[in-house]
């Protein structure tokens, strides 16, 4: 509704022959309306995003009581961060989730390349099928995968047993748990990546390929000389999103792994540790410090990606 209104006033053609003063006044009026229509979103952002960030930054220098009430404690939370072995292992685990998440990008690229071809039968069906996990509640996804992964009665091990393989207890074995959880994360995000890449593929003009064909380029050459460079802005976009998203892995670990799981130390992420400290152990100040450290890492990694993009991203 908001959008429709804004569009209507912005696109209304200015009647010709009016003095400039009216136009300026009109523009000022439009700016007022723009502010007015932006206000709900801007206010929401300020109240629900910016203000909490400022607060969290402040809280990272405080120590909390079990039911609220905090005292300023300087850098003590940050000092504790340096000597927390759990935090170190959580960062290592998170890095793994991040890398395994990035491994989903080539998978999505292949899927997108296959499904973006015009004229294939049933393409819409497969697109919908692959996109379905993206719009499914993460908790529901995690619960269903728990059943699939179950060691004694799960579908995966039942199928493996049919070919003579004795499957592990996927999500309670420290050796397999992280990969098992990351695979679910990949499965549930691949559809989204695929859609973005598909849009990127479809915006590459067909005549580039025709010209390449005339020049004698095979499909492999076409892929590396045309598809990849012209798709690089989309690829850049999905890798940035994937890194940010996987750094925040929490819900899958929370639902699939759980407190008394022997594989918890090998699977818990930075955000899991943050949750544990903020809401279970009620060290809200320390949790705020963890959150800020994660923010700093996220900003650094994203900044690095933006610097590196000059080397490989081509904006046509």
């Amino acid at each position: 509704m908001t959008l429709a209104g804004a569009k209507a006033s912005a696109l209304a053609p200015a009647p010709a022959g009016r003095p400039a003063r009216t136009a300026r006044r009109r523009r000022r009026g439009e700016a007022g309306w723009a502010v007015f229509f932006l206000a709900p979103t801007a206010l929401g952002l300020a109240v629900f995003y910016l203000w909490p960030v400022v607060q969290t930054f402040y809280y990272s220098f405080t120590t909390w009581g079990p039911f609220g009430g905090h005292t300023f404690s300087g850098l003590s939370n940050y000092r504790q961060l340096l000597h927390d072995p759990d935090l170190r292992s959580a960062f290592v685990n998170t890095a793994w989730y991040c890398l395994l998440g990035l491994a989903g990008v080539p998978v999505a690229l292949v899927l997108a390349a296959v499904l973006a071809r015009p004229g294939r039968r049933g393409v819409g069906f497969y697109r919908a099928l692959l996109f379905l996990p993206v719009v499914t509640m993460p908790v529901a996804v995690a619960v269903v995968w728990r059943w699939l992964y179950a060691g004694d009665s799960g579908l995966i091990n039942t199928l493996l047993a049919k070919v003579g393989i004795h499957g592990p207890y996927w999500i309670s074995d420290p050796h397999t748990a992280l990969i098992a959880v990351a695979a679910v994360g990949m499965w549930s995000s691949v559809g989204y990546t695929m859609v973005i890449l598909m849009a990127g593929l479809q915006s590459i003009p067909r005549h580039f390929y025709e010209a390449a064909q005339i020049d004698g380029a095979g499909p492999v050459r076409q892929f590396f000389a045309i598809t990849l460079p012209l798709l690089s802005p989309s690829l850049f976009f999905v890798t940035v999103l994937s890194v940010i998203g996987t750094l925040q892995t929490f819900d899958l670990v929370y639902v699939m792994v759980g407190q008394t799981n022997p594989a918890l130390p090998q699977t818990r992420t930075v955000v899991y540790l943050f949750y544990q400290d903020a809401f279970v152990n009620n060290n809200r100040g320390y949790a705020a410090a963890i959150a800020f450290l994660l923010l700093a890492v996220t900003v650094a990694l994203t900044g690095l990606q933006f610097r590196l993009q000059k080397r490989w991203v081509h904006y046509a």
Binding site: F36, P40, F67, G151, P262
Partner: protein, 420 residues
């Protein structure tokens, strides 16, 4: 500015207004509409909700100007959610409290002292009354109590040719039976060594003559050799494969394994009776016996209480409801529905008779040997340590002794932080 712009403006105004409404609806849920006060009642056990609803109906019949809604949060998230809600001043008006969390809530003035009630507390077992006193002041009225028993699957005992457990069973009898009952080919195990204090390792720690926390709440008992023997009881069962491994039990909770006939024995609470009676797999084929004796007999006793939030907007009504929850009438409903053993003396026998197919009297018979659930001022802090550290002993990656020494050290540090 056409009709569209007006509509858009109205929408955005409504959005802002609803945001403002969101932020102002802080405080305890519910309010008074047309003179009628609505209270919220926080509970965790879904099995008990029907009985709680019955009690509420009886209460509302006597107090037509008060209505009560149940807020059920599953056990796994109950305390996390409650603490966050209490921090934000939005805890339910009346809610369930347990021993491990009581002192934390009382000492931080999150719950209200029930000094205005003048409730006669001599109608409840004295140890439960004392459990909910902080610095000599009563903060909660006992709701129920529970002990732990040895539930067993009769068909699996018959199939293995093992005699049913009796009150004279010792640890050796139990271990021998667990071995005989285990049948790897069928995926059947003698017992599930659940990584759970109240139903499992606390009981064996007390049976071995050990302790979890010293009576003054300052010293961890995990360095005590008897305590370690109590832990070893379970890790030995896992090592001998008479219990599923921790990995298996993480996949499928032992309670569910028992219900589906994969466990011959299960250490469970009196509160399990109602769920077992309602489950086709355990409706009739199971029974219960007292826990086996180690160096001595012991079972953990614990009970819940109803408490009133210190930040309720309707103190008088909330106290009235808490008082009713502690009444004989409410206890009778709990007993007749077979929900839990009510705390109100004289109503317990009705609970025993609610499920004649089980020998529920064993839960009351064991009261003589009952040991209170270990608590301190901030029990949750070391409960987390227990869960995190004992995992290493339960999955066999570290010897029990090493883990127990670690746990004792970290728990002592946590206890020292509690202060006086």
């Amino acid at each position: 500015m056409g009709i569209r712009a007006v509509a858009a403006a109205a929408t955005s105004l409504a959005l802002v207004a609803s945001m403002a409404a969101c932020s102002s609806s802080k405080g305890s849920a519910g309010g008074s509409a047309g003179g009628k006060v609505s209270l919220s009642y926080g509970v965790w056990d879904a099995t008990q909700v029907p009985a709680m609803q019955k009690i509420i109906t009886a209460f509302e019949a006597q107090n037509p100007d008060i209505s009560v809604t149940i807020q059920q949060t599953p056990w796994a998230d109950y305390w996390t959610k409650l603490q966050a809600a209490a921090t934000g001043g939005a805890a339910p008006d009346v809610f369930w409290m347990n021993g491990p969390n009581f002192q934390l809530y009382a000492s931080n003035n999150v719950i209200k002292p029930l000094t205005d009630l003048h409730q006669d507390t001599s109608v409840y077992p004295a140890s439960l009354v004392k459990l909910y006193q902080y610095k000599g002041v009563q903060y909660g009225l006992p709701k129920d109590f529970d002990t732990v028993g040895l539930w067993y699957n009769k068909a699996l005992f018959d199939a293995a040719g093992v005699a049913y457990p009796t009150a004279s069973w010792t640890w050796a009898d139990f271990q021998a039976a667990a071995k005989k009952l285990t049948d790897p080919a069928k995926g059947v195990y003698g017992v599930g060594a659940t990584l759970e204090g109240q139903e499992n390792f606390y009981d064996t720690i007390f049976q071995a003559g050990g302790y979890v926390v010293s009576p003054d709440g300052k010293q961890s008992g995990y360095a005590d050799p008897n305590t370690i023997a109590g832990l070893k009881f379970w890790t030995d069962l896992i090592a001998a494969k008479d219990s599923p491994s921790l990995k298996q039990m993480t996949d499928t909770a032992p309670l569910n394994m028992f219900e589906s006939g994969k466990l011959a024995m299960f250490w469970g609470g009196s509160w399990d009776a109602k769920a077992f009676a309602g489950n086709d797999g355990t409706k009739t084929g199971i029974d219960v016996a007292p826990l086996p004796a180690g160096a001595k007999k012991a079972t953990v006793i614990h009970g819940l209480a109803n408490v009133v939030s210190a930040h309720t907007a309707h103190t008088a009504q909330a106290e009235k409801f808490a008082e009713f929850l502690g009444s004989q009438q409410a206890a009778q409903i709990e007993a007749d529905t077979g929900t839990v053993i009510p705390a109100y003396n004289g109503t317990q026998q009705a609970w025993v008779q609610a499920y004649p197919q089980y020998q529920l009297h064993v839960f009351l018979d064991q009261l003589l040997d009952a040991v209170p659930l270990p608590v301190s001022r901030d029990t949750a802090a070391w409960n987390t340590l227990e869960a995190n550290l004992l995992t290493k002993a339960w999955d066999g990656s570290q010897p029990v002794g090493t883990v127990a020494a670690d746990l004792a050290e970290q728990m002592n540090a946590a206890l020292a932080k509690e202060g006086s």
